[in-house]
């Protein structure tokens, strides 16, 4: 069995889990290629124009996968990954979006990932899915093993950060990045922002490097209504972890992303209150790379000046 997984959206978060799960069941995992101009164009042409860019790109990836001779397409319906929280309505309707935008779509595997009440429901959904390819014991075993793999992957991602050089030299900037993992890690969607920042010798910290407990600790301190979007909660938690620890924060959001329209606004307000340099990049299919780079350069210049000024004051102080 060849299972197609589009290289978009939560591929960037759960791929180790999905890969291990399907391979343990004896399936072959086929991933679409990296996002290109063509992927985006195809995605944009197939979907309704109000959708956010990452979902359009997702549909583009799906249409590229169809040509790769796959038996099934894996599009999970992710409702919630944590108790009393949601992801985003578009993830809840993702299989339907795909089916409604693509004609002659291969059969879709769409487990309903709903951990609102208990994470046992997530396990149930995956085991049920696994039982299409293997008997019950093997499916449950594959699930448990994949959860462990995912955990190992996440720990490794965090440790990568700990090994980063800690002796920060002068005008070596540390920049916190806020944004969904599918924007940060997709080099084409974010117009090479991350690549550019690394080339400019910035030390980058992202949300992925924070543990769940760190985020919950910071969010718990806020005098704000409980955030019911997991991604929004992570953004706010990460912001409060970053401030004071980094020189500046860059947030990357997709235009017309519903959850970000509110959470990024909150981030903007907090960064004014706490005097954190904050730069917001809004991405859509019309974003031009040159404009992005110019604005990034200006922001870095500003951070460097600020840092120098602070260093001078300290010297005189």
């Amino acid at each position: 069995m060849r299972i197609g997984i589009p290289r978009a959206l939560y591929y960037y978060r759960y791929f180790p889990f999905w890969q291990s799960f399907f391979e343990d069941l004896g399936c072959q995992v086929v991933v679409s290629d990296k996002t290109t101009r063509n992927t985006m164009d195809v995605g944009v042409s197939l979907t309704v124009d109000g959708l956010c860019l990452p979902v359009k790109v997702y549909v583009g990836h799906v249409s590229e996968l169809i040509d790769k001779d796959i038996d099934y397409l894996f599009v999970p319906r992710i409702i919630s990954t944590a108790k009393r929280e949601y992801i985003c309505p578009k993830f809840m309707g993702l299989p339907d979006i795909v089916k409604n935008s693509i004609k002659n779509c291969p059969p879709i595997l769409a487990p309903v990932v709903d951990g609102r009440v208990s994470s046992l429901n997530i396990m149930k959904a995956y085991v049920k899915l696994g039982m299409r390819f293997a008997p019950l014991p093997q499916a449950s075993f594959a699930y448990l093993k994949s959860v462990k793999k995912q955990h190992q992957y996440e720990t490794a991602a965090r440790e990568k950060n700990l090994n980063n050089p800690k002796n920060i030299v002068f005008d070596y900037l540390t920049i916190g990045i806020l944004g969904h993992e599918y924007l940060i890690n997709d080099d084409y969607i974010n117009m090479g922002t991350m690549r550019w920042l690394k080339a400019a010798n910035c030390r980058i910290v992202t949300m992925e490097e924070l543990t769940e407990s760190t985020i919950n600790r910071h969010v718990g301190k806020l005098k704000l209504k409980r955030m019911f979007w997991t991604s929004g909660k992570r953004l706010l938690g990460a912001f409060h972890h970053f401030r004071g620890r980094v020189d500046g924060i860059i947030s990357i959001a997709a235009f017309s992303c519903g959850t970000d329209s509110l959470t990024m606004d909150l981030v903007e307000r907090y960064s004014c209150r706490y005097h954190v340099p904050h730069f917001q990049l809004s991405l859509d299919e019309h974003t031009g790379e040159a404009g992005v780079i110019t604005r990034l350069e200006a922001f870095l210049e500003l951070l460097i000046r600020r840092k120098k000024l602070e260093a001078d004051h300290a010297a005189y102080g």
Binding site: V48, R84, K90, G93, S256
Partner: protein, 371 residues
């Protein structure tokens, strides 16, 4: 304590009655207007949806009139409405406005907090005031929605254009002024018969169009640029598939005791949407299918720009439209929606349906003559 609340259609009449009966002074913000929208747009997040912007505008205008406490509803996701109140608090805070919010959350989410808030609200007249207020508000809401429903039927048939809207306005004003249940019922009864006895042309067979979509933009006539009136003037009989009475019954009363099920909607929407997606997403798809099955001539789908659930619906409706052969138009509204463009699109849509019907009739005739 002067209370205020955001607008949504005509339900301020019911909300005002509720809080008045509980012994509070209510400041109803001026009906949403261009000024409200400008104020709201200025201070709200740029890509937030239209209702949030209008809410902020309403609040600012009400504060100017002396409001001291804002009543707002909460929610628990995944639609943005659930987080409106939190963001609105931050917006007003950053503007330097000190004002208290009472955010009414779903009873199943935080019962303790709801109890505490209710205790503040009923401090003046006790439980009795609350019950009286709820009964009065419920009665008013029922009357408002029935009058509106009737106006949708009468308006396309009226001989003197504008008569129905005028009468409706007058009746709503009367409803707002009364505060006994007996009188509300009387106005409802008399109003209905008055509306039905307006001069109408009985020969007109208006087109029947259903409206589906996001609840705020359907109910708030400023947000939808008076969609229902415009359609009525184009000789279209409108059916609103969303109304507050049913919404409260289903989503507040039944769902808080765990009896609400959306199984019938899932069955209708099968093939196009297979899950709840927040807001009225599932309802929109299921209701469009129902309208198609009930031989409606067309469906209008209305949503605020960037509305998350309804965008998913938009894609699904494209397929419903071609499968059931029913014309569907999606209207996206935000602060940039222009009146002329909106009217043109409506006229074109209605014209298209009318021609289609004529062509169908013609085809029928020719096939009959051949027999």
């Amino acid at each position: 304590m002067k209370l205020t609340m955001p607008h949504m259609g005509n339900c301020y009449i019911a909300a005002e009655a509720l809080f008045n009966e509980m012994g509070h002074e209510v400041i109803v913000p001026p009906l949403s207007s261009k000024k409200t929208l400008d104020l709201g747009t200025k201070y709200s997040p740029e890509t937030a949806c239209l209702p949030l912007k209008l809410n902020v505008g309403n609040f600012l205008e009400a504060i100017e009139m002396g409001a001291e406490i804002i009543i707002m509803i909460g929610g628990r996701g995944p639609c943005r409405l659930g987080y409106y109140a939190a963001v609105e608090q931050e917006i007003l805070r950053d503007l330097g406005i000190q004002i208290d919010f009472i955010i009414l959350e779903h009873p199943r989410d935080n019962f303790h907090k709801l109890q505490k808030q209710l205790r503040i609200l009923i401090a003046k007249k006790g439980i009795k005031g609350l019950i009286n207020g709820l009964r009065l508000a419920w009665e008013k809401l029922g009357a408002i929605e029935e009058l509106e429903r009737t106006s949708h039927v009468v308006r396309p048939r009226e001989i003197h254009q504008g008569e129905t809207s005028e009468l409706l306005k007058k009746l709503l004003l009367q409803l707002r002024m009364t505060n006994t249940i007996a009188e509300i019922r009387k106005i409802r009864r008399l109003g209905l018969s008055k509306m039905q006895s307006l001069a109408v042309n009985r020969e007109i067979q208006p087109l029947k169009i259903g409206i589906v979509g996001e609840i705020y933009t359907i109910l708030e006539s400023f947000a939808n640029l008076n969609l229902e009136e415009r359609l009525g003037d184009l000789k279209v009989e409108v059916t609103r598939t969303v109304n507050l009475v049913d919404w409260i019954k289903e989503h507040l009363i039944l769902s808080s005791i765990g009896l609400y099920s959306n199984k019938h909607l899932l069955e209708k929407a099968a093939g196009y949407l297979h899950s709840f997606v927040g807001g009225h997403g599932l309802e929109s798809v299921a209701r469009t299918v129902m309208l198609a099955e009930a031989d409606y001539h067309g469906v209008i789908h209305i949503l605020p720009f960037t509305c998350m659930p309804e965008i998913i619906v938009q894609g699904a409706l494209l397929r419903v439209s071609s499968d059931y052969k029913i014309p569907v138009i999606t209207l996206v509204v935000d602060e940039h929606t222009g009146e002329m463009g909106f009217q043109t699109r409506l006229e074109a849509f209605v014209e298209l349906i009318a021609r289609r019907l004529e062509a169908e009739k013609h085809a029928e005739k020719t096939s009959l003559s051949r027999c």
